[in-house]
Amino acid sequence: MDQNDQHSDIHTRNLRVLEALLFAAKEPLGAEDLRPFLSENADIADLLDQLQQRYQHAGINLVRRGEKFAFRTAEDLSYLLRRDDVEQKPLSRAALETLSIIAYHQPVTRSEIEEVRGVATSKGTLDVLMEAGWVRMRGRRRTPGRPVTYGTTLEFLDHFGLEQISDLPGLNELKGAGLLSSNLPPDFSVPKPRDGALTEDEDPLEPDDAGDDLLSELNTAQDPDKN
């Protein structure tokens, strides 16, 4: 067996290992989950790329979710595979609106969400989104009161079939129209939503931070959209 054959054997094996691991899992896996099972110095990005191409036209595709990868049924087979019986409790209008504001404006504080909606947000609304696993507390904004900042999760990307947060539908148009700034006036640099690491005006949450805001506590009293 010459050098090349040997190399190709290792390569084939790496691909099979990736296939097996990603196929067995329900949740997306990242490089750090996969690396321990591959040959030393394996180029994971390249291997994933090849696997992605191999499954490009199959009934299942290898999709990217943030920095992770997962096998999912092909999008164009949706109409055949649609299952309504597994429908979770539908989200209220308030919760959906809040979700889209968090997705497009993240990192965003509760009072910024309220500014966009023009109405107080009940704690219940955010709880529902966090329980669904789509929204998380990112940190605390370095402003007076140190309000909690919210953002979306990997599960959010996975659930709505987005590779990354910049794939949100209509994002560029909204940005272009200046509709993603949380504050006025509309002649300013428009921030891009980001779900990654903390920004320079965010502090990490303490491990035991329950996410209580002074403001939130006060607002809970009125709860206009509590359902």
């Binding site: 949706s78 595979l81 709505f160």
Partner: protein, 267 residues
């Protein structure tokens, strides 16, 4: 796999029902004043960029007025918006003064327009988001994920010392229990004072404290308690003016004697 759209999608694919008369509108059906304004603006049937903010403000104020006439309770944030719109209206009708620090009517109108556009945009975005093929409905993950089986092996830890200790403790437990609790003599302060009182008597000569206690110091067990209690008692007696004490240097014998002039109230 039924073709019915689920509930939450309908909210976004269907425009709100056209409302023929504000009289039939329940304020509770709105998600706040901005939602109400957006609904009113949509009725102008023009792009939000071209709506007449002035007439929008008038419609809103009129609507709130109707509610109040019908004695329908209006939430505070609707009233705050009404006040702001009334102010906006007045600013729009008065020509702008350049010296004025306050925002002009046009600026305020632009701000309102922006907020309405932004809310509408977020609503549209939410609609687009939920109409995407979603995981668990149109897109599926592995239905029968193969779970990772973790074999746990315990590695027990114990040191040689632990082992020997454990043995010794076991064996010592079996020793015959003939231990008897010994009664310890402790001088109470009042006892010490009484004894001192008796020992010093009426002697006006200096004598070392431990000499007075010599009888008691004979017993090893009582040495410490006798010294401690009588010393404490002697301090109290000094305070009461019954005796005097002196010590020439640290750790030298502590001298005591009866104080010469007794205070009148002392017996």
């Amino acid at each position: 796999m039924c073709p019915n759209m689920p509930m939450q999608d309908e909210e976004f694919t269907q425009q709100p029902e056209p409302r023929h008369s504000v009289m039939y509108v329940d304020v509770k059906g709105y998600e706040g004043p901005l939602d109400l304004l957006l609904d009113l603006a949509r009725k102008q049937k023009v792009d939000l960029a071209h709506i007449s903010v002035l007439s929008l403000a008038e419609q809103y104020l009129g609507f709130i007025e109707t509610l109040k006439e019908r004695r329908i309770e209006v939430a505070a944030d609707y009233l705050v918006m009404a006040a702001w719109l009334a102010y906006l209206k007045s600013r729009l009708m008065v020509p702008h003064d350049d010296e004025d620090e306050e925002p002009s009517g046009e600026e305020m109108a632009a701000l309102l327009q922006f907020r309405l556009k932004r809310l509408e945009a977020m609503r549209d975005a939410a609609g687009k988001l939920v109409s995407r093929p979603r995981l668990g409905r149109e897109i599926h993950h592995r239905g029968d994920p193969e779970t990772i089986i973790t074999t746990k092996t315990n590695q027990w830890q114990a040191t040689y010392y632990d082992l020997l200790r454990a043995y010794v403790i076991q064996r010592e437990k079996s020793f015959p229990q003939d231990y008897a609790v010994k009664q310890r003599t402790v001088w109470s302060l009042s006892e010490a004072e009484e004894i001192l009182e008796r020992l010093i008597g009426q002697s006006l000569d200096w004598a070392p404290l431990h000499a007075y206690l010599a009888d008691y110091l004979a017993s090893d067990e009582e040495r410490v308690t006798a010294l401690a209690s009588s010393f404490t008692a002697s301090l109290e007696m000094v305070r009461q003016g019954q005796i005097e004490m002196r010590q020439s240097s640290p750790f030298s014998p502590l001298m005591v004697r009866r104080r010469a002039a007794k205070t009148p109230d002392d017996n």
